[in-house]
Amino acid sequence: MRIERVRCAAFGSLSDFDTGSDALPGLVVVVGPNEAGKSTFFEVLVSLLYGFRPTSRDTHPYAPRAGGEIDIDACVTLDGGQAWHVHRRLLTAPQGHLERNGDQADLKNRPLPALSHVDRRVFRHVYALTLAELTALETETWNQIQDRLIGAMGARDLVPLRKAVESLEQEAGALWRPTRHGNQRIREVDARVLENLSRRQNALERDLELRRLTQEAATAATDLKAARERREHRRLALENARRLQPIRLHVQRIEELEKRAGPPEDLDGLPSAPGDRIAEARGACEELETRLATLNQDRIPPQALVDAYGEAQRGIVGVRDAVTRVVAAAAAMEPEWLRLGALEQEIQDLERRRQPLARELVTVPASQLDAETLLRLRTAEVRDRVRAFSRAREESERLEVRIAAGEQGRASSAMLAGGGVGLVGGLGLLAWGSFSGQGALVVAGAALLSAALGVMGHWWWMRRPDGRAARGEGEVGPSSDARNREREALDSIRTLLADLPIHEEILRDPTTDVASALVRLQELTGDLTARQTNIDDIRSRMTDLDVEARGLGDRLGVVLPPDTAGASQALDRALGQANEARREAEAAERELERLDRESVRWKADLEGNRERLCALEAVLRTLADGDLTAGLKEAETRIEARNRATQIMDELRRAHPDFDDVLVRIRKAEESGEDWTLDSDALVEAATELEELTERIEELGKRSVTLEHEVAQLERQPTIDQVDGEGVALQEELAWLRRSRDRTVVLARILREADRLFREEHQPDVIRRAGDYLERITGGRYDRLSGGEADIGAEFMLHGPDLPDPVTVDETTSTGTREQVYLALRLAIVDHLDRDQERLPLLLDEVFVNWDEARRTRGLDLVVEIARTRQVFLCTCHEAWAAELETQGARLVRL
């Protein structure tokens, strides 16, 4: 492949870069000072051939700082003569186009199709040889260089194989190695496995020991239980002998006494002292009989009182309400009797006052005057009519007087005329006086005028109707009407008084005095009639009361005095006596009832006492075949026995608060057939055994505690399964470690084997080619290179016709020679990599700087020769070298 033209619009420090329209030859010398852009130019070539990396403009290190896009355009001719036109741009994403044989292909960011045999990494690492890389040889061991050159074919992204293998072998050795020197993890775990096996054995033994101890503990517990039971048994026996036996004797005494007392039901109903009870009962009977006799005597007086309350008194008491009412009415009538006399006196006085008045007004005596008619008279109307009559008469009389004064009317005309003259004269004087200024005339005129006006005013008044009436003008008709009204009024008075025999002269000229007298007569008559009515009423009621009192007297057979008041008092006294008798009889009845109740109770008591006595005696008789005396004695004996038994029991309970429990134990002991009658030797023996048992129990208890403690301790220790768990974990770890170690060993072996295979395949060709190059460069001093075929670690050796022995290439070799060997190997690797493939351009950057003149000349000659078959870009800042190469057909490209 030859790059014939490269244009670059912007790429790092390169801007509008163009190698020119003439096709670049096989050797291109890129001339420029340091930092002129030779590395940038190489990056342009890499990007042209393989695409952009990174693929983002934002992160691409060669993106133009001043903006703009990376744009590379190139013409390429392949080894077979095909001409390609390549155009790549880095926008937001890489773009690439390839034109070949008139066809357009979208490259995107892929490498050119002819480069598949050398990837980008290898091209970068192998096809560009720089001064910096040669300088680095000083710091790198030649073994590493050798590995990189041969094993990695120059690639610089690999850890040296030797280093990787050593690392793996160290790791494997840290896990396990055949010798026991140093720490080896697998052997450590092996030791822990052995330890675990020992622990497992211990756990097994512990488990057996645990079972044995548990069994022993169970036996000890059984023994302990048995000893405790035996001790309890003996303790009870001792207790029975020492404590329960005395109590038991008392209990036995109680049982004997209860036996003497007989069945309790035999003594049911018997008092504690039956003899006393019999005497007591008999005395009580006698006393009750005495009381009953006395009680019968006590009944006589009250019975007499009851009997004394007879029928007559019961009758009075039966009508006591009527008698009480009559007595009360009589008491109430007493003031009215006193008033009756006063009323009669008042009637006489009224009659005396009425008689003269009657004579004045009526034609009959007062006693004959019909009181009702008089009282019906409407005296107020009489008075009004009399007044109306008086007014009518006065009017009539006044009219008659006026008619008599009728002539006086004519004088009024003259009055008018005189008034008129006076008026004119007055006005004239007034006017003249005013005109002439004479005050006297004015005054006179005014006076005259006033007088005239007064006369004319009087005239005018006289001309009015009332004025005329006052003058009696036109009153002849009205006078007749007044007289008619006078008569009509008098007639109405007569009509009103028509039922009374009023004197005629009064009726002809009734006056208001007559009306007043009539009113007075009417009032007196009314008062008289009212008092008479009152007297009649009082007398009527007195009569009714007297009749009722006497009726009661007749009915009850009580003799009454003739007056009503006396009769009433007699009735009252009789009622009082009857009530007294009744109260006494009632009190006597209550006393009798009380006495009867007492009698009944005492009789019942008496009966009860007699029955109890009989019953007691009957019970007693049953105790001695009907003999009361013997029965009484038997009963007293039995009761005494029972009381004694009770007394002993009470004492036992006081002395032994747990007596019931004690009794139960006594009963149990009796039921168990224990020997209650331990003698002293037996007691000592039992006490001794008890002590021994106690010691035994204490011993067993301690042993049990010890065993429990030991069991608990063993149970806290790891069990077999726990130890096994750790054992399994260790085995698993061991297996994992072994596997890891083996895997590491296998991995190391693979790397070694890969290296061996790679060397077998590639190293001979590379070494041979490198030897050829080295011979050219050194002018035949070294004509062959060898080494490295067998295994890694084998060193490169230099051979030459003048060398007695091969020379090892190592750090002692001169820098120039090492660089020449290195360059020869790199050139050989390049040839090896693209043998039978497209030959890719080679970049050499100041690689001859450290060489002597002769070898540099030979080196440059070699480059010229290589450039015939592989395009070479030689970068240098040495113008002389550039000029020299230009003479050999190289194209200079200046940066």
Partner: protein
């Protein structure tokens, strides 16, 4: 007839852990689960407790566990509830074995060998309500199909068969040794209404009618035995499917928590967050019973920028401890063996250098039968007696390409 069906209690199983405390808790959890089993049998007033083998893990039953076991069974039988127990390969019944030696309480009916034991189950009033037959393992390596030895059932009462067996069609059967293997078809045809099976630790229903069930083990023992563990409560009817319900009893649960897609985790904090998310997501569907304690194995796999940090033991311990606190669980274990650098193997395997050669060689050995590394068996110390060198090496090479890349490539950042 109501039965409580359990199996594979594995009392005194060796719980793998370097922590004494954790092993003790797991052992106690097995005992607690068994006590809960008895409590549940009592509270449900079952007619019988059926144990289908592997009641304990081996003859090295500790004295304490033995005492607990007999005490709990005695507590149950004292109430009149019988126990039918068929021995399994871990607790065989041959003379001299522990299952034979134990002083079983009255009411515990043990099937120790091929001789069927049949219990007529009765109500407290004495009415017969069903039959439970059982056959046990006499030795630890029973190879015959014991299911064919069960008597043919007769009568109208429901029948239960109890057996510790490897049914070859059961899920997860490859995880267990094929002791007393049986065929599902023969169990179906045997005429029993309910097969109470044991041996496979994963709970599963093999058939509905007749009902054939593995209850799984009572308490999980390792991360592969995750999920709720317990027993099956079954109402068995004659000629019809039993009504079954699972009863969760294990106080400790194992959880295998795989966490993939680690490329985004740039820091250990990111990684912790990712694990927390995975945990919460898992618990959203299955929160466990109240009071359940968890032992979690966090399995980190795949490419991660933290691949180097995760290889350091101190970082692993720090991460493990932090997760234990954040997840609020009893224990967290980490599996980080399969994390690797985020590189593309395909990109490197074609390289014309020793790295490409090594990758191609490793893949070739792993994938090409007969291709071997030039090694002697004596160079490798972990090879099992049953493995050939070729098989062992091939097994070791699982995931080795990532390891080669990790070891051969320079640290990130220097890559062009």
């Amino acid at each position: 007839m109501r039965i409580l069906h359990t199996a594979d209690v594995h009392l005194d199983a060796a719980f793998t852990s370097h922590s004494d405390e954790l092993r003790r808790k797991l052992r106690d959890a097995s005992r607690t689960a068994f006590t809960r089993l008895v409590d549940h049998a009592l509270s449900e007033q079952v007619d019988a407790l059926v144990i289908a083998g592997d009641l304990f893990d081996g003859d090295r039953l500790s004295f304490q566990t033995e005492r607990m076991l007999l005490g709990e069974l005695g507590r149950l039988t004292a109430t009149g509830i019988p126990v039918v127990y068929a021995t399994g390969n871990h607790d065989p019944g041959r003379t001299g074995r522990r299952a034979m030696d134990l002083q079983w309480p009255e009411g515990v009916h043990v099937a120790r060998d091929r001789e069927p034991v049949t219990l007529v189950v009765q109500t407290p009033a004495g009415d017969n309500i069903g039959h439970i037959a059982a056959i046990g393992h006499a030795g630890p390596r029973e190879s015959e199909d014991l299911s064919v030895l069960f008597p043919t059932p007769t009568g109208d009462l429901p029948r239960v068969a109890t057996l510790h067996t490897q049914v070859n069609d059961a899920g997860g059967w490859q995880e267990h040794d094929a002791y007393a293997p049986s065929q599902l078809g023969s169990l179906e045809a045997a005429g029993y209404d309910y097969w109470a099976l044991g041996h496979v630790h994963r709970r599963q229903e093999l058939r509905g009618t007749p009902s054939i069930h593995y209850p799984g083990n009572l308490q999980g023992r390792n991360p592969s035995e995750s999920g709720a563990k317990g027993a099956i409560l079954a109402d068995v009817k004659r000629g019809a499917a039993a009504t079954v319900s699972f009863v969760s009893l294990a106080p400790i649960r194992w959880e295998d928590l795989p966490v993939r897609s680690l490329r985004e985790a740039a820091t250990l904090d990111d990684l912790v967050h990712q694990v927390l998310n995975a945990w919460e997501s898992a618990r959203a569907d299955d929160g466990g019973d109240p009071g359940t304690e968890w032992i979690v194995r966090v399995d980190l796999r795949g490419a991660t920028p933290l691949w180097q940090e995760l290889r350091k033991e101190e970082n692993q311990e720090h991460l493990r401890s932090e997760l234990e606190t954040l997840l609020r669980v009893l224990h967290v274990s980490l599996r980080v063996g399969e994390v690797h650098r985020p590189v593309d193997i395909a990109e490197h395997i074609q390289r014309m250098d020793v790295l490409g050669e090594a990758l191609r060689l490793a893949r070739s050995i792993r994938e090409t039968p007969g291709k071997e590394l030039p090694m002697e068996p004596g160079e490798l110390i972990g090879i099992g007696s049953s493995d050939t060198l070729e098989e062992y090496v091939r097994d070791l090479l699982d995931g080795v390409e990532e390891e080669i890349l990790a070891r051969m490539l320079e640290a990130p950042g220097q890559d062009p």
